[in-house]
């Protein structure tokens, strides 16, 4: 960890004893991002793409400048393929809605067993409405079962929509391989990158997907803003999910023609300050984050957690792959409810997430009610892990009356 990283987050000054291990839910926001958003409100608060005044020009330039930054950030050549959304969920809904006319009864849509509700429910609806079959790639020891992938992806597959990294198990999904398999059968491949942005380098060309969605607030940006990237030829054939101001070429009382990309998918006044904040967050990620450091910290945390399982038979079980290469680590402790643990951890200043993590079907599939999830960010260090372990020990003792 860079020495001054915590100093870049006022929230640590305001909560001096905070051990924040809930980065999978949202990362904290560095001061420079907040400052950049304030700048918009203080110096050039205006709507974009309209208005003949200099404030509006400046706002438009800032907003559109971020589109270029995002394109570079995920290695996209054309900035008009970058659509600003309210977040990953919004992006997936735009896709599922927009692809409706391409899906018919004899088709199938392929997901994995570990999807977040955001990458499940929109496809459920599409399946209900079109009669297309929803298929799931099975897991094997929390990893994607490639034999299962081979059997479910076939010539009738129209869409393969998969998480890059599971928000529950931390499984790194072999997206390159799965996108290649989708390509071979002519299916559209979509990656839910909510848990991978900000934690690893994203290169959509290397992944080989047709669309990639993510949220700013999981990569040190503000909430309520995200990105949908999709190939131009795909976006051009998709029906826009929202209609309204800013997305038309021409309109009369009876009809309209949609604007060119990207405006076609950005109806209404967007989250301008949020997009500007996202631009600054990209700068933060690119200049401040050492992904290797975070990986090593996760390795350390997993090793320390496993020590708990062997001391006094407390039976901690990791709910995730043995070789975890993500920033998300889930576990359960035998005979102890995750809510009891979370309550006592919270009391000791440790912020973790418990429950089903918006992946209820996965919980049923794994046969568990919920997990305790710790998830790391740029400001976490070994000291955080040690405090977590001490607090876990103490909580277990309190609950077990030992």
């Amino acid at each position: 960890m860079k020495k001054n990283i915590r100093e870049q987050f006022k929230i640590f000054g305001n909560n001096p004893n905070l051990v924040y291990l809930d980065n999978g839910a949202t990362t904290l926001t560095p001061d420079r991002v907040v400052k950049k958003m304030n700048e918009y409100y203080f110096d050039y608060n205006a709507n974009i793409h309209r208005g003949g005044h200099h404030l509006g020009v400046r706002a438009t330039e800032s907003y559109e400048g971020v589109r270029v930054k995002v394109a570079g950030f995920i290695n996209v050549d054309s900035k008009k393929e970058i659509i600003f959304t309210s977040g990953t969920t919004h992006g997936l809904n735009i896709l599922a809605f927009g692809l409706r006319s391409k899906i018919s009864k004899s088709d199938n849509i392929v997901l994995t067993r570990l999807e977040h509700h955001a990458n499940l429910l929109p496809w459920q609806r599409l399946s209900r409405e079109t009669g297309a079959e929803l298929r799931f790639i099975e897991l094997n020891d929390f990893e994607i079962d490639m034999d299962s992938a081979k059997s479910v992806i076939d010539e009738n597959t129209k869409v393969v929509s998969i998480a890059h990294i599971s928000n529950v198990t931390g499984t790194l999904v072999p997206v390159e391989k799965l996108c290649q398999m989708a390509k071979e059968v002519g299916a559209i491949s979509i990656i839910d990158g909510a848990q991978s942005v900000g934690h690893r380098k994203i290169d959509v060309q290397k992944i080989g997907c047709d669309a990639f969605v993510f949220s700013a607030h999981k990569m040190y940006g503000p909430t309520g803003v995200g990105v949908l990237w999709a190939k131009e030829e795909l976006l051009n054939t998709m029906e826009p999910y929202m209609l309204g101001g800013g997305m038309i070429d021409e309109a009369n009382y009876n009809n309209f023609t949609a604007a060119q990309l990207p405006n076609k998918f950005e109806a209404g006044t967007p989250n301008i300050s949020g997009v500007i904040g996202l631009g600054e967050a990209i700068g933060f990620v690119e200049s401040e984050i050492d992904f290797e450091y975070e990986n090593k910290l996760v390795d350390y945390a997993v090793a320390e957690l496993l020590k708990i399982s062997t001391s006094g038979g407390k039976n901690l079980r990791l709910i995730g792959p043995v070789n975890n290469t993500s920033s998300v680590v889930s576990f359960v402790i035998k005979a102890i409810h995750h809510y009891d643990l979370a309550t006592l951890l919270d009391e000791q200043g440790i912020a973790v997430r418990v429950g089903h993590h918006c992946a209820e079907p996965l919980m049923g599939y794994l046969g568990i009610g919920g997990t305790v999830r710790i998830s790391f960010g740029v400001y976490n260090d070994k000291d955080d892990v040690n405090k977590l372990i001490d607090s876990l020990d103490k909580s277990i003792k309190m609950i077990s009356n030992k």
Binding site: I336, H337, D346, E347, G369, M398
Partner: protein
Amino acid sequence: MLIDKKIEQIKSDFDILPGWEERYEYIISLGRNLAPLATEFKTDEYLVRGCQSRVWMRAYKKDEKVFYEADSDALITKGIIALLLAVVNGASIKEVANIDFGFLDDIGLKSHLSMSRVNGLQSMIKKIKSYYI
């Protein structure tokens, strides 16, 4: 015992516990000692919605008094249930309707419990008041 007296008793029980650890250990011990709910009532029908750990609750009337039985899969939740039941069990319908559960603030529970649990607490209180009223 009058409801007010029961509440005063709980408050003074907590007053002598100096810190969050003692308070939670006490709640945990109450949870551990809570009589389990018969399995036949641990069904969706008796599930209290809005709690993040599962809570089941039933109620019955005897000689115009109301009695509750409840259970949870989380120990701290069971402890909180024990506190609630200690106050409401054996009260009249009118008394239950008028109970002010604000005493839970006075024993420092709300400030110590995470928001989801506080919401769960509201759900339990609502459920208690929903029977026969």
